[in-house]
Symmetry: C2
Subunit: 356 residues, 2 copies
Amino acid sequence: MVTTVRLAVIPGDGIGPEVVGEALKALDAATSGTDVRFERTPFSLGAARYLETGDTLTDDDLEAIKGHDAILLGAVGGVPGDPRLAGANIERGLLLKLRFELDHYVNLRPSILYPGVASPLAEPGDVDFVVVREGTEGPYVGNGGAIRVGTPAEVANEVSVNTAYGVERVVRYAFAAASARPKKKLTLVHKTNVLVFAGSLWKRLVDEVAAEYPDVAVDYLHVDAATIFLVTDPARFDVIVTDNLFGDILTDLAGAISGGIGLAASGNINPDGRFPSMFEPVHGSAPDIAGKGIADPSAAILSVALLLDHLGHADAADRVRGAVAADVAERGDVARTTSEIGDAIAARIGATVGAH
Amino acid sequence: MVTTVRLAVIPGDGIGPEVVGEALKALDAATSGTDVRFERTPFSLGAARYLETGDTLTDDDLEAIKGHDAILLGAVGGVPGDPRLAGANIERGLLLKLRFELDHYVNLRPSILYPGVASPLAEPGDVDFVVVREGTEGPYVGNGGAIRVGTPAEVANEVSVNTAYGVERVVRYAFAAASARPKKKLTLVHKTNVLVFAGSLWKRLVDEVAAEYPDVAVDYLHVDAATIFLVTDPARFDVIVTDNLFGDILTDLAGAISGGIGLAASGNINPDGRFPSMFEPVHGSAPDIAGKGIADPSAAILSVALLLDHLGHADAADRVRGAVAADVAERGDVARTTSEIGDAIAARIGATVGAH
Ligand SMILES: CC(C)[C@H](C(=O)O)[C@@H](O)C(=O)O
Ligand SMILES: CC(C)[C@H](C(=O)O)[C@@H](O)C(=O)O
């Protein structure tokens, strides 16, 4: 029986379309000859669309996207400082709007230092952890405001909203993930000594869910201390669970120590399955190198692996990851184009068909 | 004419008293034979005091401290998880209370990678920057709350409060600092694309003050990207200005990449001089190694250098920094006790008397 997956594809801006092209090659290679096929719908969204039409994400766009099983996104965002984008906030109006409207309450960001990949750390050790970042609450809710704007008496507030409902579900996801991994360790990262209300809530729910997972070792770190350990001892981490803003910060740092943001993949997941989950590289649209064909598509391709995992095709996902790992192991210093890298990885994926 | 500085000394908990003892040796060595003398008043504050008396910081303590010209603090905080401290929040009730009540709106945290000091980075480059962290606003104001606590319907909010008054003064301090440094570069770190209200305020005030400093090059980074550059290219930074929480996170990371938190010094400064400024190592009370005489007093000693700078004794400050630099350059792998390190540095400071 052939399954058809309706995939919404948002190439986006800058290098987004370039890396998405290669990610789709990888997807084809990983699923050719299997019983799953991907029916793709392209969506033109991002800074370019905004500049053309003035729209960021219309209700119709959102409804159309909701009619899909999953989303692959390249990157969105225009040239920093472009005066025509001054009034727009593509991040809030498009990327965060998708995450919030589609209830992507788990933002999954694995960090693996593949053999052969240079790390900026002198002694990286064994980097293999995953950050489970909350995706629908915290300081990202957009619940702020300002008075007397533009005057010396301006006051600007930002409210971080945290609910037991929202924290418990992401904490449960993180415990289940930790329990399924060999190290079985979960580290809560927060700033409970300063953000005492939000911190107490997170701490309480981690303690409560921990009681159901006696096999998982639980640890706590303040966010400042966590940045130190990511640099000095990344091997101490297995599953990190944290709020939206801390997760944003920690995952860029995690990308930096594990081979660079060019390898960092992410999944914005709605585990209930009520809405399509969205897979995207952690990197941005990089307008400075757009159109040159030199962007590294690896993070986008690894995001396809997360997509395949999510859809239950673990074998295909492993083949994609294996092909990327093999490719990066042999990269050396040779400069290749985006499509040369994509072709090489797709060929490696193809070569493993039937090997599993 | 001999100046007398009234110095409040808060040794605190854990390794606090040990490192403060060595810091005071360095202070003696740096000022002996000069026309400044320090009259010290010890204050017993911290977890130990709380456990004895139930007090964290009384109004009388605060008034007495206000009667001083400066404060030297070791570290405060009890053993994590000590049930007797469950109700107390030494951080909020003592450390942050001092910073807020004494209007320490500049939290100054230099990062220098001294020659000979091992960095966890494979290619650290030339690390020499200073973080100017806002100290009296942002998510640290304690302006949060929770409803239905302990139930599945709990909501916990944290409010970040940012004012033009508070942001402008710290931004002005940062520009003045940048203008006085050879590189003359200022990087604002925030998350303007998500925290749009607070972000716009910071951006506006940086732009406004920048107009008065045409000699200073101005740069902006999102906080997540800033963590990447701290690891991959720390030499790009000169003066970083940022909010209270981002500054907390970035300075621990900065400590990690520039020789460890054992060398990270800080000043909580009230530039108006209305209240005494407070100097403290960035590290905590480290109860696990307390009483063993093995804590590295270097960060506390470097905090004395910041104290001397603040009081206008730049020569003495330079001698302290020079002595620490010389000591760390020759450290190698020999384990020394806290007081051996302190004695060695004090001796080096003494040897430079009159050299300036
Ligand atoms: C672009 C921005 C809104 C986004 C975020 O802060 O979540 C990005 O940094 C990320 O991590 O995906
Ligand atoms: C102890 C804690 C409240 C404090 C802070 O968050 O400011 C510490 O981490 C620091 O950086 O001095």
